[in-house]
């Protein structure tokens, strides 16, 4: 294996992030938080005293809906769609070992998506700070913190999707189904299992970093829910990321790609 092939793999993976319909879907998704902020700002102009709450948008949109769905769109596009379209073979038959292809999928795509998410968060912050009330005064450091949290979560999600893509035959159904149930429905149910969802741990990380661990107005609907510590949440996320990354690399090494003829 040559270094130029590895370089090409990184470039190629990055190039694919900015192509096709999925880019548009991601842009629409990432535009939602700034748009909501803009709406709130416009309303605050009309009626003095309407608070524009940047943290609320981050908590509910940037680190929840937008984050999970962006990861889902790209996660599926990285492996499942490639295998289904029949393009996966070209990349796997290159000069880079397969584990490296899986690794590049996750480690190249997640910083780029994190950058896009950061842009979205920064735009939200910028728009929200037009309004006099409700914007945290910690300055741009809060953006950096949010971006960090988002990139951690994205890495976990992408690793999971890459793993599912290589490991399962019905990879789309498995990965999307799991994420929908575990990450969307589970955090809405008042059970202890919500402590083990990526969404919750991400937001707990965020809670500790930006709200000093105070639950305050967040999670208030949940009765008897103990917020894990920063250490617990970061441990959970890093273990999940490492686990799925490893499993994904192993799965990539063992994935057989049948043609459409033999697939049934």
């Amino acid at each position: 294996m040559s270094s130029s092939a590895a370089l090409a793999l990184i470039e190629f993976t990055a190039r694919r992030v900015f192509s096709g319909k999925r880019l548009w879907a991601a842009i629409v998704l990432l535009a939602i938080p700034p748009l909501v902020a803009a709406l709130l700002v416009a309303l605050a102009r009309q009626r003095a005293g309407t608070p524009v709450h940047f943290d609320g948008i981050t908590f509910n949109l940037s680190l929840y809906l937008t984050l999970v769905l962006t990861a889902m769109i790209y996660g599926v596009a990285l492996t499942s769609s490639e295998i289904e379209d029949g393009t996966a073979g070209y990349v796997l038959l290159g000069a880079c070992p397969r584990w490296m292809v899986a690794l590049a999928h996750v480690l190249v795509t997640s910083p780029l998506l994190a950058a896009l998410t950061t842009a979205s968060i920064a735009a939200t912050y910028g728009i929200a700070s037009i309004s006099p009330v409700g914007v945290p005064e910690r300055g741009p450091s809060v953006i950096a913190t949010d971006a960090f949290v988002a990139s951690v979560a994205l890495t976990v999600y992408l690793a999971f999707f890459v793993f599912c893509g290589y490991a399962f035959k019905h990879n789309m159904a498995v990965s999307i189904g799991t994420v929908l149930v575990w990450e969307f429905i589970m955090p809405a149910l008042p059970t202890k299992f919500m402590n083990y969802t990526v969404v919750m741990n991400t937001r707990i990380l965020w809670l500790h970093l930006t709200q000093q661990g105070e639950r305050g107005r967040w999670f208030r609907g949940v009765v008897g829910f103990d917020v894990p510590t920063y250490a617990e949440a970061s441990m959970f996320l890093s273990v999940a990321a490492a686990l799925f990354l490893t499993l994904g690399m192993v799965a990539a090494m063992n994935r057989s790609l049948a043609g459409r003829e033999g697939g049934t």
Partner: protein
């Protein structure tokens, strides 16, 4: 001995009008929608839940307990108006069945069969709409009917036959209000892509997104229109308007249970106009997309 010629014979006969063709399309489509494993599991769990509820209520009634949820038209209103399980269930079913209905036709090229037959784009759209709606009704209307019967059986109030009939109409209307816009919107998304999961994700995104954004807005702005942003609120508000307003006349266990009240002060035609608008725009979008796809192989 008589030998009957069983080889290929020419056929001639009268052809039926267009509405019968659409009817056939719907029948075959529904059969196909039920073929999916996921859809079966989801529906089955819903029915288990509904029957479980009914069972518990029957047990309660054998102990001469009157339960608040059985009084008035609470029980099916509650079922149809709640976000969990009904809202989530309908969302998932629509993502599964609505999402793939046109996308799979494009991907497996069934459109070239449909449009080489004597149907127009509008017929196709109406057929698909009816198919997805009818399928979704099995997750709303049918359980609601079961609950209506259950209410009739065990509630302790005196309800006139007219009121019962009105309730029946209302729950049918409520189910349609929930299902029809969702089905059309899912079809619009479905015509976007050949890949069935894309429309599914987009629809889930719309549903959750609208609820979350509406939640943020409601909390921040505290204005009434913020509630209109949520898809679920719209359908519930419009559905609520259909029910007969009457006072519950019986003292029941747990009577502090909140009946779903129309918390949105807007008249019924506002959500109706919004949902109708979404449906219309979606329909036009599908027609426009199919115009593009009709030209392909």
């Amino acid at each position: 001995m008589a030998i009957v010629d069983q080889s290929y014979q020419p056929w001639s006969g009268d052809l039926q009008p267009r509405r019968r063709r659409i009817g056939a399309m719907v029948r075959v489509g529904i059969r196909q929608a039920y073929a999916g494993l996921m859809a079966k599991i989801l529906l089955l769990s819903t029915y288990l839940m509904v029957f479980g509820t009914i069972g518990i209520l029957f047990i309660a009634s054998t102990f001469q307990q009157s339960v608040a949820i059985v009084s008035g038209n609470n029980i099916y209103r509650f079922y149809l108006g709640s976000i969990f399980p009904t809202g989530i269930l309908i969302m998932t079913l629509a993502a599964l069945v609505g999402g793939r209905s046109i996308a799979n036709d494009l991907r497996f090229n069934a459109v070239s069969m449909y449009f080489s037959k004597a149907i127009t784009r509008t017929d196709y759209l109406v057929g698909k709409w009816a198919t997805v709606s009818a399928f979704l009704l099995s997750g709303t209307l049918v359980p609601a009917l079961l609950l209506w019967i259950c209410q009739w059986a065990i509630s302790r109030e005196e309800i006139s036959a007219g009121s019962r009939a009105m309730d029946l109409l209302a729950l049918t209307g409520h189910s349609l209000v929930i299902v029809l816009p969702i089905a059309m919107y899912a079809l619009a998304l479905s015509s976007l892509s050949r890949n069935a999961f894309v429309p599914g994700i987009l629809w889930v995104m719309t549903f959750f997104g609208s609820i979350i954004v509406s939640g943020i807005l409601t909390e921040r702005v505290e204005e009434d229109w913020c509630k209109l942003v949520s898809w679920h609120n719209l359908a519930t508000r419009l559905g609520e308007a259909l029910y007969e307003k009457r006072v519950v006349k019986v003292q029941a266990l747990g009577s502090n249970l909140m009946p779903i009240e129309g918390t949105m002060p807007y008249p019924w035609y506002v959500p109706a106009a919004i949902l109708g608008g979404i449906t219309l725009v979606s329909a036009l979008f599908v027609l426009w997309r199919m115009r593009k796809f009709e030209g392909q192989e």
